[in-house]
Symmetry: D2
Subunit: 153 residues, 4 copies
């Protein structure tokens, strides 16, 4: 569990982390990571969480369902720089057949500094129809179980 | 002024538009524009608005001040696809020495369909100090005048 | 026709230009445009050239054929910076049923400085089969005619 | 050491690997990774190689020197898809005070399929002067030693 500088945890049990280093291509002329790069980082958090549940996002798409982003929010607390070690802590806060919400906390691992927080909301959409659909039952069950375990902790 | 399908305007007077076509590199395996691409599009809207005021963002950086993004929000209403004509309508809804807020409406020009809406909040930061600073007076005056003209319409 | 500083033309007749400004998101911590951004710029050049021929790339994909990049080369002569006006001059140097080659010259319009040159090689691939296929006849004819007109000038 | 399907090694001793999974944001509407994404992947290979030598690129920039890309070449052999495990094998083939060349082999780890190969050429440039300079001696020595060890194997 990551701890903030003062000792307070920046993430609690029940979150799952994707870890990587900042890429040079993600920085901008301000010398820090461009704010748009955090959305792919959030997505890496979702991908890792899906893999941990045993039903990864790749398999949802293979089943003909896309989890389309309908809303994204980010707050930027401190800048990230090239080569820093990043952890994107992720959890689901809502898993329903027609809507999922993910929450993120981006932490610099070198000093456990909280860099950004955010949420994304998603609706399942049929790949071929392009229309809203239901999250297939195995994904709904698996992801809800994952969320409950996270919440209990 | 752009009109929605039913005749209601999707943007009002006083907004400024950046126009371009969707790049192939902006699409993803879902067949549509990746949601992270809208943040650089919003940024294009800000850039265009700055150029129209006569005091572009480039000159703010030349004066040693970065306008750092501290918050971004986006809602995605309909997908965009490769080669479509896009307009990013932009206006400022708050211009103060310590904080600016921009609002965006992304429209597909072929049918005036509203694709996305969003806002970004910014604070002026000294390039060298890395600390919050005041928006230099010429920018504050010029941008506030631009905002007032937009609001009056 | 663009002229280099000394008066020598940096591009000749028969090339087609895509024009845009450098986006902030395309810059990196070195203060200039990241070298990977030029490949989407080349792609914009291809897109524009396709539109000019009357048979745009979008329609090739609609016909079930992707023009897959098998080789890309770029030389970087001078850096580009945020907000600069860019023209990507593009022409086809080979159009065959199984292979196409495009050539690019990226020019800063403010001073006609040549920033980068490059080439990309492509093979037509069936979207569903994932296997090499022939460029459909209307595209082959239209693009060859375009190339010949360019070469004659 | 990675082995190709038939048993022949796709990389030899003396190369260094950066490993990660394909991000969804790196894919395009063709369903595969966009060809421009390989340049940041190559860069990840360079970053990892620099870290292994004990004198990472971050420290070169801290010393006021940028390693500017003057030439990039890529060949694309097979497509990569979302979530696949990637290794970017990297080595230096030339390390001089005025020029460095890196070589890359991108491999899908699931089946050791060779996806892409490429090279990049770089010149050291002073961050403040913007002009070519010499690679500082500690980097030159460390990187040449690394290259020699790689070549001997």
């Amino acid at each position: 569990m990551a701890e903030a500088k003062g000792g307070a945890p920046v993430v609690r049990e029940g979150w799952c982390a994707a870890r990587f280093r900042v890429r040079y291509a993600e920085t901008d002329a301000g010398g820090v990571v461009h704010h748009s790069a955090y959305l792919p980082w959030f997505e890496e958090g979702r991908s890792e969480l899906g893999r941990r549940t045993g039903l990864p996002y790749r398999e949802l798409e293979a089943a003909g369902v896309l989890l389309v982003v309908v809303r994204a929010r980010a707050r930027y607390h401190a800048p990230a720089r090239y080569d820093e070690r990043i952890a994107v802590w992720t959890r689901m806060t809502e898993v329903r057949s027609r809507r999922c919400i993910f929450e993120y906390r981006v932490v610099r691992e070198d000093d456990n500094r909280l860099l950004a927080t955010g949420t994304t909301e998603h609706v399942p959409v049929g790949r071929d129809s392009g229309r809203p659909t239901r999250l297939p039952a195995p994904f709904l069950d698996s992801w809800q179980a994952s969320m409950r375990r996270a919440m209990e902790k």
